[in-house]
């Protein structure tokens, strides 16, 4: 009887441990951005500064943003009901040193972060089928 109770308890423990909860998305540190002008620290993840109307980003960050739109355009539209196009929310920006940078508005900065988290979590990009269905529907 004692053995039986032990086995039952062990079974209960194992079944309890089998519950898998996904980890919280964790971003470790700001990444190195080679396209950062020499006036700034390059370990900035492509984000130079925050302004009232948005954020100043580097050309590499802008390219990554556009790449993310290309990868997740349909998934984003399905989940957020917002259609993103290339350079959405981005405008050219010249800083006080005369460097050509880009300004991304606050709304699209959030979208950038959301899509970037998908990439880090290895969420599959839109596939051919998604793209075909989207084309038919539009």
């Amino acid at each position: 009887m004692k053995n039986f109770v032990s086995i039952l308890a062990l079974n209960f423990l194992l079944v309890s441990c089998a519950t898998i909860t996904p980890d919280k998305i964790q971003d470790s540190t700001a990444s190195y951005d080679a396209s950062t002008p020499s006036n700034y620290n390059k370990d900035n993840g492509g984000l130079i500064a925050l302004l009232d109307n948005g954020a100043v980003i580097t050309s590499s960050a802008k390219d990554r943003y556009n790449k993310l739109i290309e990868m997740y355009k349909i998934k984003f539209k399905k989940e957020k009901a917002i259609e993103l196009v290339e350079n959405a929310g981005i405008s050219p920006y010249k800083d006080r040193y005369g460097n050509d940078l880009f300004l991304i508005d606050n709304e699209h900065l959030v979208y950038f972060g959301v899509m970037n988290s998908w990439l880090k979590e290895k969420v599959p990009a839109d596939n051919i089928l998604d793209k075909t269905i989207d084309k038919i529907n539009n």
Binding site: A30, N44, N116
Partner: protein
């Protein structure tokens, strides 16, 4: 004796069914999808909060590659 044995077997079966109902349900596809969706909502809220608070370092981690 046989009745007692049958009762014990039914009791054990009932316990396992209850365990499965409680813990097994957490691993269903719907449950996982809900957890994933909640995680994404939390993440977006975190980014929005960082934008509102102008937390440059936090945003750099969110935006960086």
């Amino acid at each position: 004796m046989t009745e007692l044995f049958g009762a014990v077997v039914r009791l054990v079966g009932g316990i396992f069914e209850a365990i499965n109902n409680v813990f097994g349900a957490k691993n269903t596809k719907e449950m996982k999808e809900r957890q994933q969706a909640q995680k994404e909502v939390d993440h977006q809220s975190d980014i929005e909060k960082a934008v509102k608070e102008k937390d440059l370092e936090k945003l750099r981690k969110h935006i960086g590659s």
